[in-house]
């Protein structure tokens, strides 16, 4: 490892319309090392990287020294910029679904950067593209060259993006949350690949992320940002062991901790027997209908009163589909029994009355609240429908009580969802559910769109509600750290099949299948082990 500095930023300040977003950022990336830029959403991580390389829209004001090797970035012409981006600097973005053009094949997209920067065409470009795909360890490289982006999985697309980024031997690779949209096991593979490529090509890497777990394992030095200001910079081992700033300490301690209170096992509140979900595949003209796709293979599960059943699995494993089926929002077959009554045979009004007792909180705090209704209306809507006998004053009183219970100011009822942060919105969604006094709450990835510190608060709130109201939870998540803090029992799903089921702690500490073991390892739950 040499000490050659690739990127040096000094006192970088970025402002939009005179409102500073990044203030006085100084950092340097050396050859062969990974510098992690860490912070919660809105802390200015991505803006800093984009601003340093002149990728921000014209409205942004960027000042400060920016040097790439011996080039002064502040004084580059448009033409020089174009040669530099994709040439000496490679980018990998967060969203593998949208950062590839859906109308071009893989070979064509890689070939484009090769043609622009190296003038390679035709067979030479194809040969080089193939080499690159092999370098990013994609199997069947020759076949994949002619594949369209929609034929690739998320991890494969991200590998193609990396292949494009390293196509022109960049000195510096900027990876902006490269693994956030991927499953945990795929995350590890991608980051290992990036580290390997960094070493073989002698690149420097600027790794932007919000996930401290990844930083601990995959970065050499770390720079912690908050509200556009650097909190702390230093080697990873030092920062993690002896954090200097209070904010870093807060971030490090933000992993949800604690365990739910134990419950006595009683008669199950909700149980399913042989519950499965099939999706009919479309029939082609003159051909036989293909067999139905089994999103969830028939399974049994039960939740006791006051208990939390965690459902974990990677994307596409059927977690959410299963939850929707239990709520009767998705057609399924098999028996569902809720509080001694068959739920799967109910229809119309009888089903609607039962729905009051079976509530749900969805993943996306931005999408699950109607943007045109004030908070009080959102929270009280179900109450007014299921209890038409309540007068306005009583509804109002209950709304305020519930808002207080989820730690929201009572006065916020007149405001609209967009005035709230993600964590607050999720609390509104919880309030909307618990105001109906349900017995079971389905939580579908309630924390995955939130920052770590906010996740921790929500987990604490949910445990508190469970203790006070004796609620049962069906807690769906891919994040084992959160599940561990919430669930009594655990059900591991893979491709619609139950891989493992049992007491949460024992499943996590002594996984009996390879799949669970891989999940636990990737989540880095037990760093000591």
């Amino acid at each position: 490892m040499s000490d050659e500095t690739l990127l040096r930023l000094e006192d970088l300040t970025i402002a939009f319309d005179d409102a500073p977003v990044v203030e006085g950022l100084s950092l340097e990336v050396r050859r062969g090392e990974t510098l992690a830029l860490v912070g919660e959403s809105g802390s200015g991580k991505s803006v800093s990287a984009l601003g340093a390389l002149g990728l921000l829209p014209p409205g942004a004001q960027v000042s400060g020294t920016r040097r790439l090797g011996d080039t002064d970035l502040a004084r580059l012409s448009t033409r020089d910029w174009r040669a530099l981006r994709g040439g000496r600097v490679g980018f990998v973005f967060q969203e593998p679904m949208t950062s590839l053009n859906p109308l071009h094949t893989v070979a064509r997209q890689i070939g484009e950067t090769l043609r622009l920067h190296q003038g390679l065409r035709g067979a030479a470009a194809r040969r080089r593209s193939r080499e690159l795909l092999e370098q990013v360890q994609l199997p069947r490289a020759e076949e994949l060259l002619d594949a369209w982006p929609h034929q690739l999985s998320g991890g494969q697309r991200q590998r193609v993006m990396i292949a494009m980024a390293i196509a022109n031997h960049p000195r510096l690779l900027i990876a902006d949350e490269p693994t956030t949209a991927l499953d945990v096991t795929v995350q590890q593979e991608i980051l290992a690949l990036l580290a390997e490529l960094r070493d073989t090509h002698g690149m420097g890497m600027l790794f932007i992320t919000h996930d401290l777990n990844l930083v601990r394992r995959h970065a050499d030095r770390v720079c912690v940002m908050r509200h556009g200001q650097v909190q702390e910079t230093g080697p990873v081992s030092r920062v993690f062991e002896r954090p200097e700033s209070a904010y870093t300490r807060e971030l490090l301690a933000a992993d949800p901790t604690g365990r739910p209170e134990p419950v006595a096992h009683g008669a199950p509140l909700l149980s399913a027997r042989g519950l499965g979900i099939r999706f009919q595949r479309p029939k082609k003209l003159f051909s036989r209908r293909p067999p139905a796709f089994e999103a969830v293979k028939p399974l049994d599960l039960s939740v006791a009163p006051g208990e939390t059943l965690g459902i974990v699995g990677e994307s596409g494993s059927g977690k959410t589909t299963l939850a929707l089926a239990l709520l009767r929002l998705q057609q399924s077959h098999g028996e569902i029994e809720f509080d001694g009554e068959r739920l799967d045979t109910l229809h119309g009004d009888a089903l609607r009355r039962q729905r009051r007792r079976l509530q749900v909180v969805f993943q996306d705090p931005y999408g699950s609240l109607s943007p045109r209704m004030p908070v009080a209306d959102i929270v009280s809507e179900g109450l007014r429908f299921h209890h038409p006998e309540l007068d306005d004053a009583e509804v109002d009183r209950r709304v305020r009580d519930t808002l207080r219970e989820v730690d929201l100011p009572e006065a916020c009822g007149a405001r609209y969802p967009h005035e709230f942060s993600g964590g607050q919105r999720q609390r509104i969604a919880v309030a909307r559910a618990v105001i109906l006094e349900p017995s079971l709450l389905v939580l579908d990835e309630p924390t995955s769109a939130l920052d770590r510190t906010v996740q921790k608060q929500l987990v604490t709130l949910l445990r508190e509600l469970q203790r006070k109201r004796g609620l049962s939870y069906l807690f769906i998540s891919h994040d084992l750290a959160v599940v561990r803090a919430m669930a009594h029992r655990l059900l591991v799903l893979k491709d619609g099949e139950v891989v493992e089921q049992g007491d949460c702690e024992s499943v996590l500490t002594h996984p009996s299948t390879d799949y669970t073991r891989a999940l636990v390892e990737a989540a880095g739950l037990f760093p000591a082990a």
């Binding site: 939009f16 319309d17 977003v21 959403s41 809105g42 200015g44 991580k45 991505s46 803006v47 984009l50 921000l56 829209p57 014209p58 409205g59 942004a60 929707l324 709520l327 929002l329 089903l351 609607r352 009355r353 039962q354 729905r355 009051r356 079976l358 509530q359 749900v360 969805f362 993943q363 996306d364 999408g367 699950s368 609240l369 109607s370 943007p371 045109r372 209704m373 004030p374 809507e381 179900g382 429908f385 299921h386 609209y416 967009h418 005035e419 969604a429 909307r432 109906l436």
Partner: protein, 365 residues
């Protein structure tokens, strides 16, 4: 200010964007003033006086039909206040207050200096048509008729289109499939021919035309509304509402419809201009309103038949051009106001730079 406080912030922002667009705001005011004037057309252009004082008594001919015998005549028929004999009789023992244009849309002026169509002069500000009727009066009444017709047609198509599109989009599946096929067949019918054929079967009046055009004008809206409902029915807050146990009709009305209305509202001004154009075209061809109605299309036809009287064609053209342009400008303003990418600047001006800023902050996440 108290009123705007009650609006949601989104609505307030939209109002601000609309106000920040001077052309749309001006057009809206001009159009509203013109429409208000034309609504009181009877007070502006009429062949009866607004008020009569005769033999110490007050008469309001606008409201009550007085017989001719009331004013010294001997016929029991309604009085003709333009008749020189009646006028002299009244003015001898009282007075009359005339509207600024003393002709209604169907008043035949018997005292023209020129053969009809007569050119504009102090008596007929825009001249007369080939039957000696005052063009300005006909324009005012015609404007009102066109706008009211378009309003009724738009409201009707809105109700039908939103209902049918909403049901198709929300329930999807077979309802949608069958509904869409039926609509495709229905929209294949040639509207103008159907109107022309029907015009020969029945005596077309305003209601017939409205009804027949209503049968087809909602088709365009269905696609917009259906697409919005299709999209919205899988949004999480709609799912949450279903999980809450709300019935479909409440979900559709309270959660889905308000979001679908944005796309629909931007469609309205163009539906409106379309309705006016169609009515004018039918009148021009002679298959529209019954003869004698104050219609702009008929004025266009007169302009075509009387090229020696250019004031007819020019008036018709200018009226239609101004009215349709105003509506299009208003429509553009509305569309921009409802466009979420059209973010306001801090100064209150809507500029494209604002939208870039939003993209930047979004990518910064």
């Amino acid at each position: 200010m108290a009123l705007s406080e009650r609006f949601s912030p989104i609505t307030r922002r939209r109002l601000a964007v609309f106000r920040g667009n001077p052309r749309a705001r001006l057009s809206l005011w001009v159009f509203l003033v013109l429409f208000a004037v034309s609504l009181g057309a009877e007070l502006v252009a009429n062949d009866r006086p607004l008020l009569v004082h005769y033999q110490g008594q007050w008469y309001a001919p606008l409201i009550v039909d007085y017989p001719d015998s009331e004013f010294g005549g001997f016929l029991p028929t309604p009085a003709d206040y333009r008749d020189p004999y009646t006028r002299e009789a009244i003015e001898a023992d009282g007075w009359m207050l005339w509207p600024p244009i003393p002709f209604s849309y169907d008043t035949l002026d018997q005292e023209l200096d020129h053969p009809a169509p007569s050119p504009p002069d102090a008596r007929h500000w825009l001249g007369t048509d080939d039957q000696g009727r005052d063009v300005l009066a006909r324009v005012i009444y015609g404007f009102r008729l066109s706008v009211v017709f378009a309003l009724a047609l738009t409201a009707g198509s809105l109700a039908l289109g939103v209902f049918i599109g909403g049901v198709q989009g929300y329930f999807g599946g077979k309802v949608d499939l069958i509904g869409q096929r039926l609509i495709e067949i229905w929209s294949g019918l040639p509207v103008l021919f159907l109107l022309i054929i029907l015009a020969s079967l029945v005596e077309p009046n305003l209601w017939w035309l409205l009804g027949i055009m209503l049968l087809f004008s909602w088709l365009g809206l269905v696609d917009v509304v259906r697409a919005e409902f299709l999209r919205a029915r899988n949004l999480e807050y709609v799912r949450a509402a279903r999980a809450m146990g709300l019935p479909s009709r409440i979900i559709m009305r309270r959660h889905v419809l308000p979001n679908a209305m944005v796309a629909t509202l931007t469609f309205i001004p163009f539906l409106f201009t379309g309705a006016i154009t169609t009515l004018t075209a039918l009148d021009f061809l002679g298959f529209g309103l019954p003869p004698g109605s104050p219609s702009l299309g008929e004025l266009v036809a007169q302009g075509k038949n009387n090229l020696q009287a250019p004031w007819l064609g020019i008036t018709a053209f200018l009226t239609l051009a101004v009215m349709l342009s105003l509506l299009v400008f208003i429509g553009e303003g509305l569309r921009d106001a409802f466009d979420p990418r059209h973010i306001q600047h801090a100064s209150g001006k809507a500029t494209p730079a604002g939208s870039q800023r939003q993209t930047a902050t979004r990518s910064a996440r």
